[in-house]
Amino acid sequence: MATEILWWIFAAAIVGTALGVVFSGSVIHSAIFLILSLAGVGAMYLFLMVEFLALVQFLIYGGAVTVLILLALMLTRMGAGEKVNGSQAPAGFMVAVALAAILVSVAVRTAWPGDTGDMPHNIAIEAVSEKLFLDFGAPFVIASALLLVALIGAIVLARQEDGE
């Protein structure tokens, strides 16, 4: 019972801070709401008992990604009084509400095969590593190559060239 109450509190916090990200008028406030929202998603992984991904979420999203975003916000200052939303925002709002209604109704009404209504099963770190390094070895290596390429590409793109 206590778990359920906590779950609803965290779910409300995630949705509230996510709304803060898209509705806040200041980019820095948006970034701070984003940190809170991503930390809440990490808490969701703990509710699902997937400790490894919760750790990864806190480290990579809570740490690295948000720091990168804050740094980019610092480097690309917006002019004072510049509007953050385009003129298409009201239409986008209606499309997003319709999308949410459709997705939620589909998710709630579908009888998911294999769903016995049990507790979520604990996914241990050992099980994840075994899968990742045995069955998914090739995608793992390709993903690391992708990261390396993206890193080099980012350096090349953002580098200050002579005479600029």
Partner: protein
């Protein structure tokens, strides 16, 4: 205990919020932040399915690892592009980066 549907509904709502952000915002960094929200919604979905429906093979959890990896690569590259755009045109507004628009 929390049923699977709750996670799916939460993920759907989070995805739609991010979708609205992508549609409505003009600043490239804000659009990127909304994309992060959408990717996180997808990860919640993958992991919820893995934990409830597929606890033996846990492919959803492995997919979430790759989603996080690709998201990290994407953020690094996208922010490099935004900084380059800002340096060349003194704006991070995507409406003004329309030089390749026909």
């Amino acid at each position: 205990m929390v049923p699977l549907e709750n996670y799916l509904a939460l993920s759907a709502i989070l995805f739609s919020i991010g979708f609205y952000g992508v549609l409505a915002r003009r600043n490239a960094v804000l659009i990127l932040m909304s994309i992060e929200l959408m990717l996180n919604a997808v990860s919640i979905n993958f992991i919820a399915f893995a934990a409830y429906l597929d606890p033996d093979r846990i492919i959803g959890a492995i997919f979430a690892v790759f989603v996080i990896t690709v998201a990290a690569a994407e953020v690094g590259l996208a922010l490099a592009i935004v900084i380059r755009l800002f340096r060349n045109r003194a704006t991070s507004n995507v409406d003004e980066a329309a030089i390749m628009k026909w």
